[in-house]
Symmetry: C2
Subunit: 303 residues, 2 copies
């Protein structure tokens, strides 16, 4: 014979204990005294143990009953929290917003945005999942993530791409670097250079996807570095050159240590999008994040 506990039982035990007696508990729970009596009896039958001491009249918890009470006091708050969370979810106050970013440099403007977001939407579970390991868009469809930052919009049913902002991929080198003399940089210029990039697949880097791969040029050496600040450090000390989005460049643009040049005469101009499920786009907090992302990036670019 197996014991079949339900939340109702836990609530009953708790109420009887707190209000001292079945009758009062019944009042509180908006239920008949008889119902509680039945409930207890069935529980005791199943457990094979007396849950209450009936020697004196307002009946008290037995040892076994006290054990049950302790369990109730651990478990009940859990579902209560759960229910609150779902209430918030329905009210659009809480939710999940796991973001996959395909572009590594996006951390730069995303972090400040998330700071602001967390303050305004404390009940939303935000997280960044560096989209290195998996294909972000299928994950978006499967609801494994909720927002994808990407430069390459695709036509996927149920998924919408919102334009965030335009940017330019810019060449950076030290002031003293030979290429600093040129008005603009071409694919050929990279052939004998050390190129410093983020440690991600080539196809995710504009300099490769937009220039070097189409022109079938291979740099002399590629050095992969995680942090933007470190990339800039290496560039300044002439250990290589790099190509970075303009919102990253802002801090070095007017520094005499660096020169920045367009790549190709026209420059590499690209757009950044936020992809989300159509359903989620109705949610206020998702709209907020997208709006703030656009603003933050533009403000970084406007130096």
């Amino acid at each position: 014979m197996k014991m079949h506990i339900e939340f109702r039982h836990l609530r009953t035990i708790k109420a009887i204990h707190e209000h001292g007696g079945v009758a009062r508990a019944a009042d509180i729970l908006n239920i008949t005294q008889s119902a509680l009596s039945h409930q207890i009896k069935s529980l005791e039958d199943q457990a094979g143990v007396e849950l209450f001491v009936r020697r004196s009249k307002p009946m008290r918890l037995s040892a076994a009953g006290q054990r049950l009470l302790r369990a109730a006091e651990r478990i009940l708050p859990e579902i209560e929290a759960l229910q609150n969370e779902f209430d918030g979810l329905r009210g659009g106050r809480s939710g999940r917003l796991h973001i996959a970013i395909e572009c590594h440099a996006c951390f730069e403007w995303l972090f400040p945005v998330l700071e602001k977001f967390r303050k305004h939407w404390p009940d939303v579970d935000v997280d960044i999942r560096p989209g290195l390991a998996f294909d972000a868009l299928p994950a978006l469809q499967k609801e494994e993530v909720d927002l994808v930052i990407s430069s390459d919009p695709e036509d996927i049913p149920g998924v919408e791409f919102k334009h965030l902002f335009d940017y330019e991929s810019v060449f950076v080198a030290a002031q003293s670097h030979p290429l600093a003399q040129k008005e603009y940089i071409t694919a050929e210029d990279f052939r004998d250079q050390t190129l410093i990039t983020y440690p991600v697949e080539r196809t995710r880097l504009d300099i490769f996807s937009q220039l070097l791969i189409p022109n079938k040029i291979e740099p002399a050496l590629i050095r992969q570095v995680e942090l933007t600040a470190v990339i800039l450090l290496l560039v300044a000390s002439n250990r290589g050159v790099s190509a970075l989005p303009d919102w990253v460049i802002r801090e070095v643009k007017y520094s005499s240590d660096y020169v920045t040049r367009p790549i190709t005469p026209k420059g590499i101009h690209r757009k950044l999008f936020a992809a989300a499920r159509e359903n989620d786009l109705k949610k206020e907090f998702v709209a907020d994040l997208i709006e703030w992302a656009g603003l933050e990036a533009k403000s970084l670019q406007s130096y």
Copy 2:
């Protein structure tokens, strides 16, 4: 509209996730696929949120569903543990054994017994509650406590007193103490002495209840000390005399630092009992503890 979650729902969510799909989950849970479908629908209606993504066929958890799953994985083990504990309780393998001791010196033989007990009955929740603050026997009736160690059996319905062992309350003093010359000690002898006792009510000390109170004698000074070892230390350095049960003085009995003497020509002889509810006496672990308590004390006395 309020959400009404039950354990059943949590189990369903967990099963669907683990076995990938409603159909398999239904098999596992020994329930119809239809039942699960209805269950989910009702949950989703109440929550006002889709718990699953139905774009592809073996359906997967949505963001909200994953939140529910996490809750399930925290809550379900709790009741499972609870049910196991109640199984053990019915099987007599687990239970609670909170012991109230009225006699302070009983720690001496109780600790080693509890050590042994914990090894044999790992699932029983044993505890000692120093019975200083409350009346132990009413607490026993109310199931606030499960075993009472006492020298004074009373006739209480539903409570049985099991004889543990006999002991003698013995006078202890330093070898050099004047009273060491006497064959036996009388009430009068305490009139000008410093008496060292445990820090409990007088009525709980044999020397008072059996000798000093009946003879209306007050010692010159009473000094209260918690630890038996400290009492003996003070006695040895002639800072006072004491009266202790024989199982405590075993270690000093043959030491040349101390003398031990009977109190009154016949000595103060008492019995110790374990009081428990009649119901609990049927339990094997309770019987074991009582048996071992008797053996341990007798072995301490047999030096």
